[in-house]
C-alpha cells in the first residue's frame, strides 16, 4: 500500500492534527442531562414528573427515617408521643431505631446463648475468609478453596454451632434465630441445590428411562407443591406418624425442605441452559472421543452454567427470601425474630412495626443486591463470545 502521508503531494496533509477538546455541547453535565433526561419532549415530561415525585416523597421519607428518628432509648416511652404514653411531642412520627438497637443482637443471633455467641461469630469469620477468595477471580487455588468451603466448612460449622463435643456446650436449634438461621438455611440451600440441580437436570435429559423418570417425578412433585405446604406438613403431620417422643429437629426439617425445593427449581434453570447448547457442541465432544463425564465436564456444563448465571442467581435470591417461610414451623429467621419482637409490650408503639420491617427489608436487600451485582460482574467476565 502507498504511503500517503509521505507522498509529497500538495493536497495530502503532511502531519497529524493535534487532538482537540470535544465541542462543549457533547460533554459535561449539560450534555449528559440533555441526552439522558431531556432528549425528547416525552423524556422531559417524564423527568419532570419523576423530579416532582421525588421532591414530594423523598424529604418526608428522609425526615422520618433519620431526622425525626429516635436513636437511643430504653423502652416504648422513647418512641411514643405524650398522648401515646411516651415523651415525644404530639404529632411526632419518626423511625424508632432505638428498638432495632435494643433488639439488634437478637435479630442477629436469635436466642443463641449470649456467652456462646463467639461461636457464631467465629463461624461467620471462617465463612467470609473462605468465601471472599473464592469470589475474587484473581486469587488462585480455586479447587482447594471450594473443597474447604463446601465440604470442610459445613462440618466445622456444624460442630461449632451445635456443639456438644470438643468441650463446647450443646446449643439446641430452637434457640437459633435471626440472621443466623437465614444464613444457615440459605448457605445450605445454595450449597446443596446447585450440585443436586445439575444432577437432576442431567438426569432429566438422560437416555436411561429409570433415572429420567425419577428425576422428572422428583422435579414435578416438588415444583407442584408450595414450600409453605411442605413445611407445614413437616411440622404438623410428620410428628403424628412418628412414634411418640421421637421428634425431628425443626431446623433439619427446614434445611431439607428448602434444599430439595431449590434443587428442583435449579434443575429446570440448568436444563434450560442445556437445551440452549447447540447440537454441534455435543457432537463435537463426541467426535473428539470424550466419554459422557468428560463431555459434560469439559464442554457442555462450563458453557451451560455461564449461560444460565442470571437464572441461577435468581433462584439463589428467591431461596434467600423464601427462608422467611420457616416461621410456619415456629422457627424464627431474621424477619420472624423482628416480627416476634413486635409483641414485646415494652416496645409497642405505632412506629415500631414499620421501623422493624424497614430494618429487615434493608438487610435482605443488602444480601440480595450483593448477589445480584456479583452475578452481573461474573456475566461480564465470562462473556467472551456473545458481544
Amino acid at each position: 500500500m502507498a504511503d500517503n502521508t509521505a507522498s509529497g503531494r500538495a493536497f495530502v496533509r503532511g502531519e497529524m492534527l493535534p487532538q482537540q477538546t470535544a465541542p462543549t455541547s457533547t460533554k459535561g453535565v449539560g450534555h449528559w442531562l440533555k441526552t439522558n433526561l431531556f432528549a425528547t419532549p416525552f423524556d422531559t415530561v417524564l423527568t419532570l414528573l419523576a423530579v416532582l415525585f421525588l421532591a414530594w416523597y423523598l424529604p418526608p421519607m428522609l425526615r422520618w427515617l433519620f431526622i425525626d428518628a429516635v436513636w437511643t432509648g430504653e423502652g416504648r416511652a422513647a418512641c411514643a408521643t405524650v398522648a401515646q404514653g411516651g415523651v415525644m411531642p404530639d404529632g411526632w412520627s419518626g423511625a424508632c431505631w432505638a428498638f432495632v438497637n435494643a433488639k439488634f443482637e437478637q435479630f442477629i443471633y436469635g436466642r443463641y446463648p449470649i456467652e456462646e455467641r463467639w461461636r457464631v461469630n467465629l463461624t461467620a469469620i471462617l465463612m467470609i475468609v473462605l468465601l471472599v477468595p473464592l469470589l475474587i477471580p484473581t486469587v488462585g487455588r480455586k479447587g482447594l478453596n471450594a473443597v474447604l468451603l463446601f465440604a470442610v466448612f459445613p462440618i466445622v460449622a456444624y460442630f461449632l454451632l451445635v456443639g456438644g463435643t470438643f468441650g463446647l456446650s450443646f446449643v439446641e436449634t430452637p434457640l437459633w434465630g435471626g440472621l443466623l438461621v437465614t444464613l444457615v438455611l440459605s448457605f445450605f440451600g445454595i450449597a446443596v441445590s446447585l450440585p443436586l440441580g445439575i444432577l437432576l437436570a442431567l438426569g432429566r435429559r438422560s437416555s436411561m428411562p429409570v433415572i429420567k423418570m425419577i428425576c422428572i417425578i422428583f422435579i414435578e412433585m416438588v415444583r407442584g407443591v408450595p414450600l409453605v405446604t411442605v413445611l407445614f406438613m413437616a411440622s404438623v403431620m410428620l410428628p403424628l406418624f412418628l412414634p411418640e417422643g421421637v421428634t425431628f429437629d425443626k431446623l433439619l426439617r427446614a434445611l431439607i425442605g428448602v434444599a430439595l425445593f431449590a434443587s428442583a427449581y435449579m434443575a429446570e434453570v440448568i436444563r434450560g441452559g442445556l437445551q440452549a447448547m447447540p447440537k454441534g457442541q455435543y457432537e463435537g465432544a463426541d467426535a473428539l472421543g470424550l466419554n459422557y463425564g468428560q463431555k459434560m465436564q469439559l464442554i457442555i456444563l462450563p458453557q451451560t452454567l455461564k449461560l444460565v448465571i442470571p437464572g441461577i442467581v435468581n433462584t439463589f435470591i428467591g431461596l434467600f427470601k423464601d427462608t422467611s417461610l420457616v416461621y410456619i414451623i415456629g422457627m424464627f429467621d431474621l424477619l420472624g425474630v423482628v416480627r416476634q419482637n413486635f409483641s414485646d409490650a415494652a416496645w409497642a408503639t405505632p412506629v415500631t412495626a414499620s421501623t422493624g420491617l424497614i430494618f429487615a427489608g434493608f438487610v435482605f436487600w443488602i444480601f440480595c443486591f450483593g448477589m445480584s451485582r456479583y452475578s452481573i460482574f461474573m456475566e461480564r467476565r465470562l462473556d467472551r463470545s456473545h458481544r
Binding site: 416504648r76 407445614f232 415456629g330 413486635f342 409490650a345
Partner: protein
C-alpha cells in the same frame, strides 16, 4: 369452610393416632430429662414475648416457670417451644411438649375430640370491640353496617359472625393474617371497629397513634377461658398442672408473696403452715408427686398469682390490664381455688 375441613381431618387423624396412647407418666419423663418442655406462644404481648435480651417473659411463661419451680425448685428448668396456633395441639399430642401454656381457649370440642385436657383457667378473657370515639357509638348493637378489622383464622372471626347474625346486624369484615397488619389498618382508618380478645385490645392500644380517641365498648361477645392444656390420660400430670395454678391463687388469697414466703413458713396460722408444707407429717405435696414445700417453691421463685398478673400484664407492665374477672373470688372475680388440705 376449607380450613374447617382440614382442621377436622387433622383433629380426626390426631384423635385416631392418640386414642389410648399418651398414658406414659409425663412426670417421670420430665424428671428424667430434667426440664419441662413448655409450648409457648410465638409472641403475644404480656403473655409470652421475648425481652431485649431474648429471654421469654410473660404471664403464660411464668406459669411454666412455676411448674418447673414446683418440680425442680428451679424456675429455669424449662424449655419453651414457640408454637403457632395451627401446630400447638399437634405438638402436645405428639409429645413434643409436656404442657401447653399458650392462651388456648377451653372448648368442649378441644377437650374431647382432640385427646386433650384443659385442667384450669388461669385467665378469663372475652372478645370485645374497640371503636373510634368520633364514631359516637356507645354499644355494639349500634354497629350495623360497620367495617370490622379482624385477624383471620381465629375463633374471633367466628364469634364476630355469630354475634352479628344473632343480632341481625350487617357488617363488612376486613380480614388480615398478621396482627400488626390489623393494627395498622385500624389505625389508618380502613375500618371502624377492631375486634379481638379484650387482653389483646390493651396491647393494640399501645400501637395506636392517638389512643385517647378510641374506646372499648362494654359488650363482651364470647367467653374465652384460657388455661394450660395437657394430654388426655395422664391424670397425675394433669393434677400437677392444675394445682400449680391453684397454689398460686391460694398464695395470693393468704397474702403469701415472693418477699414474705420465708417468714410465712413460721406463721402460726395453721392454714398457711399447711399450704407451705410446714405441717407435721404432711403428705399433700408427696401425694401429688412433688415435695411438700412445692407451694413455697412456686411462690419463692415466681410469685403468687397476683404478683405474676401485675408484673406481666397488670399495673406493673405497659399493658395495665385491670384484674376484672381475674380477681380472686372474694374480691369480685372468678379465680377460685379449691382448698389445699
Amino acid at each position: 369452610m376449607k380450613t374447617k375441613l382440614i382442621a377436622g381431618l387433622l383433629g380426626t387423624a390426631a384423635a385416631l393416632a392418640f386414642a389410648g396412647a399418651a398414658s406414659a407418666a409425663t412426670l417421670d419423663d420430665v424428671k428424667a430429662k430434667g426440664f419441662v418442655q413448655c409450648g409457648a406462644n410465638t409472641g403475644l404481648a404480656g403473655f409470652g414475648a421475648p425481652d431485649d435480651a431474648g429471654n421469654w417473659k410473660g404471664f403464660d411463661i411464668d406459669f411454666c416457670r412455676a411448674l418447673a419451680a414446683a418440680i425442680f425448685d428451679d424456675p429455669n428448668a424449662v424449655k419453651f417451644s414457640p408454637l403457632s396456633a395451627k401446630e400447638r395441639f399437634t405438638a402436645l399430642q405428639s409429645g413434643e411438649v409436656d404442657v401447653l401454656a399458650r392462651n388456648s381457649t377451653w372448648t368442649i370440642s378441644r377437650d374431647t375430640s382432640l385427646g386433650l385436657d384443659f385442667r384450669a383457667v388461669n385467665y378469663y378473657d372475652g372478645q370485645g370491640f374497640m371503636v373510634r370515639k368520633d364514631l359516637g357509638v356507645s354499644s355494639a348493637l349500634q354497629l350495623s353496617g360497620a367495617s370490622v378489622c379482624v385477624q383471620t383464622g381465629t375463633t374471633t372471626e367466628l364469634n364476630l359472625a355469630d354475634y352479628f347474625k344473632a343480632n341481625n346486624l350487617q357488617y363488612n369484615p376486613v380480614v388480615f393474617e398478621k396482627q400488626e397488619d390489623v393494627n395498622a389498618a385500624y389505625d389508618a382508618g380502613r375500618c371502624d371497629v377492631y375486634t379481638t380478645d379484650q387482653s389483646g385490645l390493651y396491647s393494640v392500644r399501645l400501637t395506636l397513634k392517638d389512643p385517647d380517641n378510641h374506646v372499648v365498648l362494654p359488650e363482651i361477645i364470647s367467653k374465652e377461658p384460657l388455661g394450660p392444656v395437657v394430654r388426655h390420660g395422664d391424670n397425675q400430670w394433669g393434677d400437677i398442672v392444675a394445682w400449680v395454678h391453684y397454689a398460686m391463687l391460694t398464695a395470693e388469697e393468704f397474702g403469701i408473696t415472693q418477699a414474705n414466703v420465708e417468714e410465712m413458713k413460721n406463721s402460726d396460722n395453721p392454714e398457711i403452715k399447711r399450704i407451705l408444707g410446714m405441717e407435721a407429717d404432711t403428705k399433700l405435696g408427696t401425694d401429688l408427686g412433688l415435695t411438700n414445700d412445692w407451694v413455697a417453691r412456686i411462690v419463692k421463685h415466681v410469685g403468687n398469682y397476683g404478683e405474676v398478673f401485675e408484673r406481666n400484664i397488670g399495673q406493673g407492665s405497659d399493658l395495665k390490664i385491670a384484674r376484672g374477672l381475674n380477681a380472686l373470688w372474694n374480691k369480685g372475680g372468678l379465680q377460685y381455688a379449691p382448698p389445699i388440705r
